[in-house]
Symmetry: C2
Subunit: 202 residues, 2 copies
C-alpha cells in the first residue's frame, strides 16, 4: 500500500477554501484531518466533525506529550493537528488534507518535508475584500481584522510549494488544479527513489 | 505573455513515447523541438519535420558557436537541439517538448534548471523486451543493443524530475499524467516568485 500525501491547504478568509475542498472530498481519495481547538463551537459546528473541541488544559498536555503534529495560537485560542490521526490516514493510502494557517503550515513542512503546501488565494486582494463584505455576516471590525490577517499571510507565500487562484465561480477548476498537483507530486522522483531497481526487478 | 515550459521527455525504445507525445500535441499547447542530426534520414523521414538533417561539419560548427542547447553522440551520429528555435517557442508562451536521451537531458538541466525532466517508461523491463520483439522490424542485434541501452538509461532515473509509466493501451492516461505535471509546475512558487506583490497590487 502506497502512503498517502500530506496536503496542507491554507486559504485566507474569502478564498473559498471550503467549496474547493468539497470537490476534493468528492473524489474519495482525500480525508480531512479534524483539528483540535480550544475555541468554543459555533452554533452549527459538531464536535469530532468540524473540530475536536477540547479544553486548554487538555491541549497543552497534548503539546507536552508530542501528540500534536503542529499547533498555533490565533485570537487567543489554540488550533492543532492530532498526530496519531494524521499518521493513520497516511498509512491507509488516502491523502490527508490539513486546513491550517500559515504558521502551522510552516511548522508541518519543518517536521514533514514531504508535505505539500498549497496556498489557495482569491484572484486579488480587491476581490477578497469584496467577497468578505458581500457575505454580510460579519462586523466591520471582524472584516478589518481578517483583511489585515490576509495581508500578513500573503507575505509568507514563499513558504508554500504551490499557489492556486480561486476565480469567481471557478472553484471546480481550482480543485482540478490541486488534483493535478497531487498527481504530479506522486510521480516525482523525489517520492519514487527505487524506480530503477523496481523497473529491472520484473 | 507567460513563458512556456521546457519539457524534456526521455523514453527508451518501447516506451511508446511517440504515441504519448501525439496526445500532448493534440492539446495545441505544445511544440516539438525539431532536433538536428548527422545521421542519414530513414525512408519516411522528412527534413525539418522529423529532424534537421545536417552534415557533421555543420553540426560541429554549430557546437563551436554555442548554437546548440544540448547535443549528444549516439551510435556514431550527432543529435542536438538548436538553441534559437527553442528560445523562440518558449517566448511565444507554448511549451517546448525536447525528445532527447539521458545525457542530453542532464545537459539541458544543467544549462536550464527550469526545465522539467520526465522519464517515460514501459511498466517494466520485461514488458519493454516484449514490445521490442513484438515489433518484428529490427534485427536481434539491434534489439539487444537497444535493451542494453535501456538498462544504462534507467540507471540515470534519478536525474529526472518525474517518472511516468506507459501501461499497455494506456497512452492517453500517460499523457494526462504529463499534463498534470505541466499544470502543477506552472503554479509552483518556484516559478511564481512575485505572488504576494501581484496579489496586493490590484
Amino acid at each position: 500500500m502506497k502512503k498517502g500525501l500530506m496536503l496542507v491547504i491554507s486559504g485566507p478568509a474569502g478564498s473559498g477554501k471550503g467549496t474547493v475542498n468539497a470537490h476534493l472530498f468528492k473524489t474519495g481519495d482525500f480525508v480531512y484531518s479534524v483539528s483540535a481547538t480550544t475555541r468554543a463551537p459555533r452554533p452549527a459546528e459538531v464536535d469530532g466533525v468540524n473540530y475536536h473541541f477540547i479544553s486548554k488544559e487538555d491541549f497543552l498536555s497534548r503539546i507536552e506529550h508530542g501528540d500534536m503534529l503542529e499547533y498555533t495560537e490565533y485570537c487567543g485560542n489554540f488550533y492543532g493537528t492530532p498526530l496519531k490521526e494524521a499518521e493513520e490516514v497516511l498509512a491507509s493510502g488516502k491523502n490527508l488534507i490539513l486546513e491550517i494557517e500559515v504558521e502551522g503550515a510552516e511548522n508541518v513542512k519543518k517536521k514533514y518535508p514531504d508535505a505539500v503546501l498549497v496556498l489557495l488565494l482569491p484572484p486579488s486582494y480587491a476581490v477578497q475584500e469584496q467577497r468578505l463584505r458581500g457575505r454580510g455576516t460579519e462586523t466591520e471590525e471582524k472584516i478589518t481584522e481578517r483583511l489585515a490577517r490576509a495581508k500578513e499571510e500573503i507575505a509568507h507565500a514563499s513558504s508554500y510549494d504551490y499557489v492556486v487562484y480561486n476565480y469567481d465561480g471557478k472553484d471546480a477548476e481550482a480543485a482540478e488544479q490541486i488534483l493535478a498537483i497531487v498527481s504530479a507530486e506522486k510521480c516525482s522522483l523525489a517520492r519514487n527513489t527505487s524506480v530503477a531497481e523496481d523497473y529491472l526487478k520484473v
